[in-house]
């Protein structure tokens, strides 16, 4: 919801009233109010990585959390995708999102954590290490 820096809502949140406060209460945002719908073939880890990459491409570079954080975010999610110490990478991503959300100067770095964290919170299965995911299918 709300553009590239909007949050991903799972089916369970589809009944959220279209309202700033209601969305904020669910860690989402109205943004530009656009809606993009994905079916179940989407890889939410890739979507999280896309958010970080988007931030890295768009970053002006003035503040540290966005300038370095977005690039590191991509790297950490790549490590996660490659199954390198997955639990540790998730912990790092969570901490990084906190730093970016509260530390960034503007909304670019400050909102990039929304798609990342909503993907991680609502679709944790996509962030599990590869072998486990394959086994589940």
């Amino acid at each position: 919801m709300g553009g590239p820096l909007g949050a991903y809502f799972p089916r369970a949140l589809f009944d959220t009233p279209f309202d700033y406060e209601a969305f904020a209460a669910k860690d989402g945002l109205i943004g530009h109010a656009g809606i993009v719908v994905f079916d179940d073939t989407v890889d939410m880890l890739k979507q999280a990585r896309f958010a970080m990459e988007f931030c890295a491409v768009e970053s002006c570079g003035k503040c540290t959390p966005c300038r370095i954080g977005s690039t590191r975010g991509v790297e950490v999610l790549d490590r996660l995708a490659n199954g390198i110490e997955p639990a540790r990478q998730i912990e790092i991503v969570e901490d990084l999102c906190e730093t970016m959300k509260f530390g960034s100067l503007c909304a670019l770095g400050g909102f990039t954590p929304y798609p990342v964290m909503s993907a991680l919170t609502h679709f944790p299965e996509d962030f599990r290490p590869q072998p486990v995911r394959q086994a589940a299918e």
Partner: protein
């Protein structure tokens, strides 16, 4: 050994007089409105972590380390960019902000070298900051995208930039850069050059000079502000990289120009590691230029002469002798000459480069020891008209303001000065004010940089023909009077109304109208009118002027014309206005104050005043001559005539700096004992019989007085390499001549100055220690000095208007010499270059060039870089041409920093009618293509080489 540590409050001080009380971490703090939370916290003793802020530049809010929480407000605002508000409760150390700080430092350190040499040396804040915020581990590693490694696994790193070592004084290593942009902001806000920018964006962002150029090739003027601001090792002094961090420091005063910047000399043992501008220095407020910041290497240059030397004839080689032998020889020679040719056959020249105390001693030696008043100083050739003109009109021989005054100016008029080159730190302060909206008028034959430079543009530039200053000022006054722009209330209250009316009648004469002056000055009448209106109506009007005013046959006239204009418009006696000479040398104000002129005792009291002489006669125990002595040009004339035979010259190179070099050489050659007391075998020493080695400003205690009358302390940081500070040399010479001098320390000399000079009565080393610096007059009426003069009335009682009729110089162009030569300076070099030529500053200017307009060049078949012959009726020299439209057609321009150019071979003997200040700024010349050096240059070169031979004494067995 102590280290001068300066508090960094993180953001600049607020100027508000309203105060605000808030609570920070439970402490109540009251600060001026507009103060940042970061600064308020520091004032309360709470340090909020930061990397991208300092109190010299505006807050930027990019590093995000200084985030805080404010009760009742959401989020985590940056304390540097958030102003205080009444009653807010700020927490600087909550768990949330601590976690964010750790997260940020973890990101920073993931792109910072693990083995950062600057961190190891303690010259980089990164490792210390990581510890401060409690960072334990860099979980990202350093294998990701980074700026650290040239290549990884054999693949070149696209982000890596090779270190830029092009600047001789500092290195830029992008791998250590954290893109805080402090350097960019220092370059913009402090220096005003705008040479640096952040290039690229996002992770690619890097600092870049110019258009992605090496620093040396960019617009960078090497002021050092960026190096000082850099919190990491990205920008570091090469001296620190080579020598390591300094161990102790002390505050002293720069020995270059008349701005008189305060520096911390940061030392390792007896070696200077670096000079860092001192924020509390009231002249420079923490800023510097390439000369003071970096060009101190001459102090240890191999050319320095460390042993006294004697020779019979100037064609002999030098013979090293002991100090005792040298002093005995000079004393014997000077007494012999006086016996043989009369008491007035010897004299002395004081130095504007030496301290007040040293200058005072030289004039005392002449008056007490030589028994005459044959003492003069190099101010003769620069600002003597200032002394005369301002004394006559206002009553004091000095500028009226402090440098802080420029912050309050509404219109600034620059006349015959080029501050960005000659007074760069003042220029930076001026440019800052101009960027804030003050208007600028430039009166200069050349399009100096200030006419148009990034974010600064003069509203009016009056490119007058050299020599027509007085006429232009009269025309400005004409407009002011004609259009009723005078400040009648001010004039009636503070000046003589009758004198004003007489003057007003004079300036209203038709020959002073802009239309009449346009004809020979070349400045359009409308431009003159516009400039006059702007100066008179643009709020506080401040005039700053330089040698382009004084070094003319009408130098004194022009100074008085400037004073008239300021009085007529009421622009005297408060901050933001005034008449300010930009003085050339570090202590030229002081040397004038100290009685260096043949007609004046210290404090500008005429030698004919019985009461003043009585003070010194009582203290020195001698009868003083009540007639003025010889000025420098008179001494040389008398030498040629055969009546003047001996001269003690402390720290001045009259052969290179005085006009008509051939005449100076002839005068010196006719003397029997020329004593040169200097750091180097300068050009004058080629004609000397005795050489006494001098000491640098780093090797002695004392005071310098800058252009704003500020008496600054000079502090010794190393023993004199030649054995004696200059004041000790003069004292021992005096003792050898039989005088009973026993000063143990320069503070005792200052005590004598204070005891005998009313305007210095309150000055002592203790006071300077306590106050940092004071501006004279400093006495019981002004115990901590006088920043702005003539506040409630003029020192002389009423301001005096004087008729300043324009009389064209006798130096006229004609068929043989159709061009006008004017002279000036360049940023990286200083005066005759004796010091700066012996530093790396030569990379910016290794020869003097002749600026010539493309039109004049084309007429003569001269191309860029060609050798040209520059000839006047006095002499000729050769140098290379630089074709530029900075000069107008008909005008050529050069500098005089290099002795092999000898620009003063060309200048003439014409001088100011009142003070003999030479007319350096106008010489009729011809320029023709040439194949190389002139005969004079070749002969002189050979003469210099021969006269610098030294026979070293055998080492004692």
């Amino acid at each position: 050994m102590c280290f001068v540590n300066e508090m960094d409050y993180g953001t600049p001080a607020s100027k508000s007089d309203k105060s605000v009380t808030l609570s920070i971490d439970g402490k109540d703090v009251t600060v001026p409105e507009g103060t940042s939370i970061m600064r308020a916290a520091r004032m309360a003793g709470i340090e909020v972590p930061k990397l991208c802020a300092n109190d010299m530049v505006k807050a930027f809010g990019s590093c995000r380390l200084c985030l805080v929480e404010i009760e009742g407000r959401g989020g985590t605002p940056a304390s540097c960019t958030t102003p205080v508000a009444e009653g807010i409760k700020v927490s600087t150390r909550t768990d949330r902000v601590q976690a964010i700080r750790r997260g940020i430092m973890e990101l920073y350190m993931s792109d910072h070298p693990a083995d950062c040499p600057a961190c190891a040396a303690g010259d980089c804040e990164m490792v210390a900051m990581a510890e401060t915020v409690g960072l334990k581990e860099i979980r990202f590693g350093r294998e990701g995208a980074n700026h650290i490694w040239p290549a990884h696994d054999g693949v070149a790193n696209p982000h890596f930039m090779e270190p830029d070592l092009s600047n001789p004084y500092f290195a830029y290593d992008a791998s250590q850069c954290i893109v805080c942009s402090l350097c960019v902001r220092a370059c913009e806000e402090q220096q005003g050059t705008f040479a640096l920018a952040v290039e690229g964006r996002g992770f690619e962002s890097r600092i870049s000079a110019g258009m992605h150029e090496p620093f040396l090739e960019s617009e960078c003027v090497s002021c050092g502000a960026c190096v000082q601001a850099c919190p990491t090792g990205a920008l570091r002094e090469k001296s620190v990289i080579e020598m390591g961090m300094p161990e102790w420091s002390t505050v002293t005063t720069c020995a270059y120009c008349g701005v008189g910047c305060s520096f911390k000399a940061e030392m390792k043992g007896e070696e200077v590691v670096r000079m860092v501008p001192w924020k509390e220095g009231k002249a420079n407020r923490g800023h510097s230029c390439v000369k003071g910041r970096f060009a101190y290497g001459y102090a240890t240059h191999k050319d320095r002469i460390l042993n006294p030397m004697i020779r019979e004839k100037i064609t002999d080689p030098w013979r090293e002798v002991t100090w005792e032998e040298a002093f005995a020889h000079v004393a014997k020679e000077f007494r012999r000459i006086q016996y043989q040719y009369g008491r007035g056959a010897i004299g002395g020249i004081t130095s504007s480069r030496c301290t007040n105390e040293e200058t005072y001693l030289v004039q005392k030696l002449v008056r007490q020891g030589f028994g005459n008043n044959n003492v003069d100083t190099c101010a003769r050739v620069c600002h003597s008209p200032t002394g005369y003109g301002l004394k006559t009109t206002f009553g004091t021989s000095a500028g009226t303001q402090d440098f802080d005054s420029v912050d309050h100016a509404g219109v600034v008029m620059i006349i015959g000065a080029n501050p960005t080159d000659a007074h760069p730190v003042f220029a930076s302060r001026l440019k800052k004010r101009l960027r804030e909206g003050a208007k600028l008028i430039v009166i200069d034959p050349r399009r100096i940089e200030l006419v148009r430079t990034p974010h600064v543009e003069a509203t009016y530039h009056l490119p007058l023909r050299p020599g027509t200053n007085a006429a232009i000022l009269n025309a400005l006054a004409h407009v002011v009077v004609a259009e009723g722009l005078v400040d009648e209330a001010f004039i009636r209250e503070r000046c003589e109304w009758d004198e004003f009316q007489d003057w007003a009648e004079f300036v209203m004469q038709p020959e002073n109208s802009p239309e009449a002056v346009e004809k020979f000055s070349g400045v359009p009448a409308e431009t003159i009118r516009g400039a006059a209106r702007l100066y008179a109506t643009g709020g506080n009007g401040a005039i700053y002027y330089g040698l382009g005013v004084t070094e003319h046959s009408q130098g004194s006239t022009t100074v008085m014309a400037i004073a008239n204009l300021a009085m007529a418009t009421g622009n005297i006696g408060r901050p933001g206005v005034g008449v300010n000479p930009l003085r050339g040398q570090n202590n030229v104000q002081g040397s004038c104050d100290m009685g260096s002129f043949p007609h004046e005792l210290p404090g500008y009291r005429h030698i004919s005043e019985d009461a003043t002489r009585a003070i010194y006669e009582a203290m020195w125990g001698v009868k003083l001559d009540d007639e003025p002595g010889l000025r420098i040009p008179n001494m040389l004339d008398a030498a040629v005539e055969g009546s003047f035979k001996g001269l003690y010259i402390q720290g001045e190179d009259i052969l290179q700096s005085d006009p008509n070099t051939k005449h100076v050489a002839a005068g010196l050659a006719a003397m029997e004992c020329v004593v040169v007391h200097d750091l180097f075998l300068n050009e004058t020493a080629n004609y000397a019989h005795v050489f006494l080695p001098g000491s640098t400003f780093l090797e002695k205690d004392g005071t310098f007085t800058n252009a704003e009358r500020r008496i600054n302390r000079v502090r010794k940081v190393m023993e004199p390499k030649n054995g004696y500070a200059d004041w000790e040399v003069t004292q021992r010479l005096a003792q050898a001549m039989g005088l009973d001098w026993n000063y143990q320390h320069p503070s005792e000399i200052m005590a004598e100055i204070a005891a005998t000079t009313p305007s210095f009565a309150g000055v002592s080393f203790e006071l300077l220690e306590r106050e940092g610096s004071v501006q004279w007059p400093c006495n019981e009426n002004a115990p901590t000095g006088t920043p702005v003069m003539h506040v409630n009335g003029f020192v002389r009682g009423t301001g005096k208007f004087i008729r300043t009729a324009y009389i064209a110089t006798d130096e006229k162009t004609g068929p043989r010499f159709p061009l006008l030569l004017t002279t000036g300076r360049i940023l990286s070099q200083y005066n005759v270059g004796a010091q700066t030529r012996r530093t790396e500053n030569v990379v910016w200017h290794d020869e003097d060039l002749l600026e010539i307009h493309p039109f004049d060049a084309e007429n003569r078949g001269i191309r860029q870089g060609d050798w040209v012959k520059l000839a006047s009726r006095a002499g000729e020299t050769t140098l290379r041409a630089h074709i530029t439209d900075r000069v107008a057609p008909g005008v050529v321009y050069t500098t005089f920093h290099h002795p092999d150019t000898q620009a003063n071979v060309v200048t003439t003997e014409y001088s100011d009618w009142a003070t003999n200040c030479p007319e350096y700024k106008v010489t009729a010349v011809q320029v023709t293509p040439s194949n190389g050096p002139t005969e004079w240059q070749r002969d002189y070169d050979e003469h210099s080489r021969r006269s610098r031979r030294i026979v070293h004494v055998e080492a004692a067995e």
